[in-house]
Amino acid sequence: MTSHLLSWITFTPLIGAFVLLCLPKRAHDWIRWIALATTAITAGLVCLAFPLFRASESGFQLVERAMWIPQFNIQYLLGMDGISFPMVFLTALISIMACLGSLAHIRVKGGREKEYYFLFLLLETGIMGTFLALDLFLFYIFWEVVLVPMYFLIGIWGGPRKEYAAIKFFLYTLAGSLFMLLGILAVYFGSEPRTFDMTLLASMKYGLVFQKIVFLAFFLGFAIKVPIFPFHTWLPDAHVEAPTPISVILAGVLLKMGTYGFLRFSYPLFPDAARWFQPAMGVLAVIGIIYGGFVALAQTDFKKMVAYSSVSHMGFVLLGLAAMNADGFRGALLQMFSHGTITGGLFLLVGVLYDRAHTRDLNDFGGLGEKMPVYAGILIFFSLASLGLPGLSGFVSEFLTLLGSFQYSKLMTGLAAIGILLAATYLLYMIQRILLGKLNPKWSSLPDINYLELSTLVPLMIFILGIGLYPKIILDYMIPTLDGLLKTMGGAV
């Protein structure tokens, strides 16, 4: 099994999905347990990679290579390095949490459970494949495979405006990825010998004009996914309408596919264009950070607030990428991981409250701190992590990105710091409106968080605290690869 470990990681969820298809519709318990077991097995397989993965080396490891379409030199090529490993691990972790969260979700339990878990597992295969594929063609296929189950998951099990949100998400991302496909083809025809193989393409040199055009084509695909301002308008709709576990996957993992794309493809393939667009990227990042923060501040819908905070926090990832130095890259990749765990947790907490009160209107709550003390504690923990309290992972990553961007542009760093201030404002304001103040009598009988819900949150808290106190445990995996990337881009480490 270890010889094809990455294939197993990618396709185990798919196997589970097909097992589900064979079960009768009414076998609810079986369906749930098989789905949960599949995500757990996948996570187990990811853990198997730890002893095999040599963290101190920068190249691709555990590579699997097979010719797939010889006429176009397209290969089935999977590999893992310090950029994809944390993302794969994050995917496995968030998938288990989301699957646990699905068990109790009202709309999922309401019906069509078999279809739900089938699509859920299909989605996991798509995401894993996206993070592991090293052949551009294969990458594009996995990238697109993610879209379809997501459309159904939002469209069938979503909130009141689910249909609009689902098709908007789908069309936005599809439009972006079609341009990316054109970019991929341009890279293919521009390479000598023609290949989609990332391990070879990274060492090829292209002219600046060509780089700029193709960089923009890729940018459209990735920017919509991240989402970078002004391509972010699908995000609030999709996040708010999606059922809780799917919002968790969306915010926790799917957004990272965009920034991962920059690190994996755009930067190594088009270093000159990346340098040329550096100021633009930085400006967009700062706009995202501040704009997202202000809009989050204005929300009265809890879930929408968290959704817009994602725009702001993903802006930090972009800022780190735009800095194009060692600290910036480290901060960006670490922020991708910690945003996944923190925002994933926040969406789960929104779900916990919504399942009880059936409303997400922040002004409707108040004084829940004494009714739901455990919930209050956890909510405060995640909020503090999100606003960057030292000792929790959000601080480390945002600090690193700011450290990186400071070396690039002091002005942008200063403006981005406003984002942290804003985060503190909207998060504390949210805590105030939900937990503090007078208790609304409507909620006098709300039960506190239960064990199932706790089991989805506690593992995330462990990672947030662990990385916050000792970031080296994860940075050790990232740094060699990121430094290697910087070196190929011609920058100083």
């Binding site: 006429q71 594009y140 249909e163 054109l182």
Partner: protein, 471 residues
């Protein structure tokens, strides 16, 4: 090669021709007309077995009237698949049961004969005759349910429109013949190579655009398609969206390569513009359709636009793209029409609103339809994506960036309306009045399985197909 020698390479055609007459005779003899359908399927199978891949060499049959090469071979296979699937769909199509069912099968065997000759036709006269043969049979089959006013209207419209376009093409052929003094494609090519003939070549190619553009529903010669597709019996619609269209592309490719390649600089731009126009018109009009057959009509116009990209670029890769795309489209569209036939059989109607809640009423049918729609959208790893990939690759390789960008935007628009159907099937709850699905009839179900197998294998293992088709 003389006629007698040629005959041994002409066995599939002869089998089908004899089978067609046999079907008409059998129609007199048997009471259960389904037997005629099964007989026709056997004829098709026999013809398929008799077909041999010429593998590299070009056989010039009947003093050069037909050229049997690898290109023609695969279009002949294509035609056989299209006709066989249509026969299977027709066997469980209720409206046909009332009258003349046996003749329908017989006519379709003639259609098969016409199509496989089109693929190999290699001089101006033969091309015109074969294309007209296909057209006449198409008019006839469109109006086959002669008591249905929509079918009647469709057939007349089709006939009038088709006649004008054929007339224009014939005029172009007469010009070429006048200049070259020969109907041999090679001679015409020689003549058009001289610079003084370039204007004539341009006029000639434009005339062919009209005649063949009509067959492949290229804008602005697409107007007939929606009415005809809506009015024709559903199995015939299924056939019209792939059969004549693919063969139109086959002739188009052959004519452009063997006759008009010297004046590519003149018509390349025109074809690029027409390709953009076709896909845009098709996509924008498809959005607002309420009838599923009309919907697929516009979708097929848009798809023709994508396929034209391959010809507009006119590179070897582009020509391969045409064929790969057509095969992907064949599996996908016939599969989708099998679903249309099933739903029409169960509810008697073909409005998009009749698909509401299909995922609950018949999960398997809805699932298959989703696979086909995703393939039409071009989502990997399905056949439609490989087709899209090919035409995009051809466009990028040919540096036709504008064309590629227009096609990309169009694909996103197309996704919107293909997902409209998916939305209706999965997201809209079923209405109370809608009939439940009984057990589906056998033949459309076989078609569903076969076509979806085709869609998935072509999507997952395109390398095998590419090797098969182009060596």
């Amino acid at each position: 090669m003389g006629p007698v020698e040629s005959l041994k390479y002409f066995i599939p055609e002869l089998i089908i021709l004899c089978g067609a007459f046999g079907a008409f005779l059998l129609d007199f003899a048997v009471r259960n007309k389904r037997a005629v359908g099964i007989f026709s399927l056997f004829v098709m199978a026999a013809a398929a077995f008799a077909m041999k891949n010429p593998a590299g060499e070009t056989l010039s049959l009947f003093y050069g009237f037909f050229h049997l090469d690898v290109f023609a071979h695969w279009f002949r296979i294509f035609a056989l698949i299209a006709v066989s699937v249509t026969l299977m769909l027709a066997m469980d199509y209720p409206p046909l049961k009332n009258r003349y069912e046996g003749e329908f099968y017989g006519l379709f065997l003639f259609m098969a004969f016409a199509l496989i000759t089109v693929a190999a036709a290699n001089n101006l006269l033969m091309i015109f005759l074969a294309v007209e043969f296909v057209s006449l049979l198409s008019y006839l089959l469109t109006g086959f349910l002669k008591h249905d006013p929509k079918a009647k209207e469709a057939a007349v419209k089709y006939l009038l429109f088709g006649s004008v376009c054929s007339g224009i093409m014939l005029y172009g052929i007469s010009l070429l013949y006048g200049a070259a003094g020969s109907i041999e494609l090679g001679h015409v090519w020689q003549t058009l190579r001289s610079p003084s003939m370039s204007a004539l070549g341009t006029v000639g190619v434009l005339c062919f655009f009209a005649g063949l553009g009509f067959k492949i529903s290229m804008a602005p010669f697409h107007m007939w398609a929606p009415d005809v597709y809506e009015g024709a019996p559903t199995p015939v619609t299924a056939f019209l969206t792939v059969g004549p269209k693919a063969l139109g592309f086959a002739v188009f490719t052959r004519v452009l390569i063997t006759v008009f390649s010297p004046s590519f600089a003149h018509w390349g731009v025109v074809l690029t513009a027409l390709s953009m126009l076709t896909m845009t018109i098709g996509n924008l009009t498809a959005i607002s359709q309420t009838n599923i057959k009309r919907f697929f009509a516009y979708s097929s116009i848009a798809q023709a636009g994508y396929i034209l990209m391959g010809l507009a670029v006119f590179s070897p890769l582009g020509q391969n793209a045409v064929m790969i795309y057509l095969f992907a489209y064949l599996f996908t569209n016939l599969g989708a029409f099998a679903v249309v036939c099933l739903v029409e059989g169960a509810s008697g109607k073909s409005n998009i609103s009749d698909y509401a809640g299909l995922s609950e009423r018949s999960p398997a049918t809805a699932f298959f339809m989703t696979v086909f729609l995703l393939s039409l959208t071009g989502i990997p790893p399905l056949a439609g994506f490989i087709g899209k990939y090919y035409v995009f690759a051809a466009a990028i390789e040919g540096k036709a960036i504008a064309l590629a960008v227009v096609a990309a935007v169009n694909s996103a628009v197309a996704a919107y309306y293909y997902f409209r159907i998916i939305r209706v099937m999965y997201l809209v709850p079923k209405a109370e009045t809608q009939p439940t699905f009984g057990t589906s009839p056998l033949y459309p179900k076989i078609v569903l399985w076969l076509m979806s197998a085709g869609v998935v294998t072509l999507g997952l293992f395109p390398g095998y197909f590419i090797k098969l088709l182009f060596g």
